[in-house]
């Protein structure tokens, strides 16, 4: 049996990679993908907790579906906004989007 810590470490690593990507990458769509990575690493952590914790039968998996749904909603709204920006500016590079910098 794989110990719980293994899952947690993988989850934490994925989360760290996702966070790093989300903070460093300049392309909005890539940032989104990094966020998805973060959310899925959370899901991994959650599901492994749910599997290993006593008395949490199945509940964790249910939460995971909720999180997937939330992630989908975020992406749905997010892509629409990114698209709107692209149509206006022909770019999705976060650095170039600076109409309001003072």
């Amino acid at each position: 049996m794989i110990p719980l810590e293994a899952y947690l470490v993988v989850g934490a690593l994925l989360f760290a990679i996702g966070t790093y990507g989300a903070l460093v990458r300049r392309n909005a769509v890539v940032v989104f993908m990094c966020v998805e990575l973060m959310l899925n690493s959370v899901n991994l952590t959650l599901v492994s907790f749910a599997d290993y914790l006593p008395g949490a039968m199945g509940a964790g998996a249910g939460y995971a579906i909720l999180i997937i749904a939330v992630a989908a909603a975020e992406v749905a709204v997010g892509l629409a906004i990114v698209l709107a920006v692209f149509r206006a500016r022909r770019t999705v590079n976060v650095d170039e989007i600076n109409l309001m910098k003072r």
């Binding site: 966070t19 914790l53 008395g55 949490a56 939460y63 999180i67 709204v77 920006v85 989007i97 309001m100």
Partner: protein
């Protein structure tokens, strides 16, 4: 098979939310089926917001209480109070947005977004389960991205929306990771069981969870150092969206934070009051100092909202022992006070324009509007007897009771620090010569009604205060 989770009581408990949901559907469907009359849509949305607030009031008056869905969703006085507030804020925002959204041609959509945020906020204040909290927080947040980016005619809008979105989703993930860690450490998502595991002495995992959770919440509250999205998002957003978003979700998030800290981790909260004090002080100073150099009113109000989040957060530094009750009162009082004055200020900006110079000589062209704006500005500074003063006074009461003198000092210094930029607006309105003819009057009836209503609430806040504090005492936590 255990007993079904839905009983008649559950349905009663959910009446405000069910009504809000029903109105969202009705607003959307009337737009696509019926006549595309913007007035009808906004009227229905206003009715929906009122229904939310009204049903919550009825429940509160009837003394309805209980916890549902396996103790994951709780309806108590505290939650109901915030539901009422959120509903009312939504109501006035809908009125204020009516004129603008009619011009976009998508009134129904915009209105349903407002209602959706209100729905999320109203679910949020009832959450006692980590994941209920997360889902309702997202329900309050995701439509707000769309609200910010709603104005297709201004490029700033979609840009602000995108910045808000990109930072917002990262923050949500961080918050979620925190929640999951808390869940993992405790073994349960229920706050009352979380409390058992969260003592003053935290394991590293629990501490990490707490820090991540607080970071996410701090982002939603635009507290330093997670405030950087605020100015761009607010400046880009349609003004009424900025007004609504700077109030309703924040209120609910503060309520959530109170509930999580008091019910879920009382001992930990006491041990970490210094953290809240630090964040509060940083937010106040950062908000006020950055606001000083803004010429765009929306941007200024955005930084001001950072500062005000700091003031409210200052009350969290008093979540200990004897000051706890006052601290809860302070959060409630400040939230309401901030709601009325900030909504009012944003509404005036909506009507007059966001550039500082459009306010020049407003007192000459539209005295009533100028006086209202002056009232809001003075209230934001904290001049008695306007609403902002009472908010600050309560925060000081709480922090002084807790002995956090540094925080008291910071609140006082910041009140003075904020004078120049708020009074800059008053100066342009009263002392400068009018630049043009002043804002267009037609079609602004509902908006003006909201402005004057907010002005009246701000001025007469002292009379709201007594009942509010009594209520806060009665419901406790």
């Amino acid at each position: 098979m255990e007993a079904p989770l839905i009983t008649a009581d559950t349905l009663v408990a959910l009446i405000p939310e069910i009504l809000a949901l029903a109105f969202i559907a009705v607003v959307l469907l009337t737009e696509v089926f019926g006549s595309r009359s913007p007035n009808l849509s906004s009227g229905l949305a206003a009715l929906g917001a009122l229904a939310l607030a009204g049903s919550a009031t009825v429940l509160l008056a009837a003394g309805f209480e209980g916890s549902f869905f396996g103790d994951g969703y709780v309806v108590d006085g505290f939650a109901l109070l915030f539901k009422i507030l959120v509903g009312l804020v939504a109501f006035f925002s809908v009125l204020a947005a009516a004129r603008w959204s009619a011009r976009t041609g998508d009134t129904g959509e915009y209105m349903s977004l407002i209602l959706a945020v209100a729905l999320g906020a109203s679910l949020l204040v009832s959450g006692r389960d980590l994941f209920v909290i997360f889902v309702s927080l997202e329900l309050a947040t995701i439509p707000s991205y769309a609200m910010v980016a709603f104005d297709r005619r201004r490029r700033e809008s979609s840009e602000g929306g995108m910045k808000y979105l990109l930072t917002g989703v990262v923050a949500s993930s961080v918050l979620l990771y925190g929640l999951v860690l808390i869940y993992g450490v405790t073994g349960s998502a229920n706050l009352s069981e979380v409390a058992a595991a969260f003592t003053a002495d935290l394991s590293p995992a629990a501490l990490l969870g707490l820090v991540l959770f607080l970071s996410g919440v701090a982002f939603k509250l635009s507290v330093v150092p997670f405030h950087f999205w605020t100015p761009d998002a607010y400046q880009g957003a349609p003004t009424n969206a900025a007004a609504f978003l700077s109030v309703a979700p924040k209120m609910a998030t503060f309520a959530l934070l109170l509930r999580v800290l008091i019910e879920g981790m009382p001992e930990t909260a006491q041990a970490y009051t210094w953290l809240f004090a630090l964040l509060a002080i940083l937010s106040m100073f950062a908000g006020n100092l950055f606001a000083l150099r803004q010429t765009n009113l929306k941007r200024m109000l955005a930084y001001s909202s950072v500062a005000h989040s700091g003031y409210i957060l200052a009350a969290f530094a008093a979540l200990t022992g004897p000051a706890l009750e006052t601290a809860v009162q302070a959060v409630i009082v400040y939230a309401v006070a901030y709601a009325v004055m900030n909504l009012g200020a944003f509404f005036v900006v909506e009507l007059v324009g966001e550039e500082g110079k459009s306010f020049n000589g407003l007192f000459r062209t539209q005295p009533a509007l100028a006086v209202s704006m002056a009232v809001f500005m003075a209230a934001l500074v904290g001049i008695p007897p306007l609403s902002g003063f009472w908010g600050k006074a309560w925060v000081i009461f709480a922090t002084a009771q807790a002995g956090a003198w540094v925080v008291v000092g910071a609140v006082i210094i910041n009140s003075v620090l904020s004078v120049p930029y708020y009074f800059g607006v008053i100066r342009s309105m009263f002392f400068e010569e009018p630049a043009g003819v002043g804002p267009v009057k037609d079609g602004s009836g509902a908006l003006r009604f909201s402005i004057y209503a907010m002005a009246v609430f701000t001025v007469l806040f002292a009379f709201i205060l007594g009942p509010l504090v009594l209520l806060a005492q009665a419901i406790g936590l």
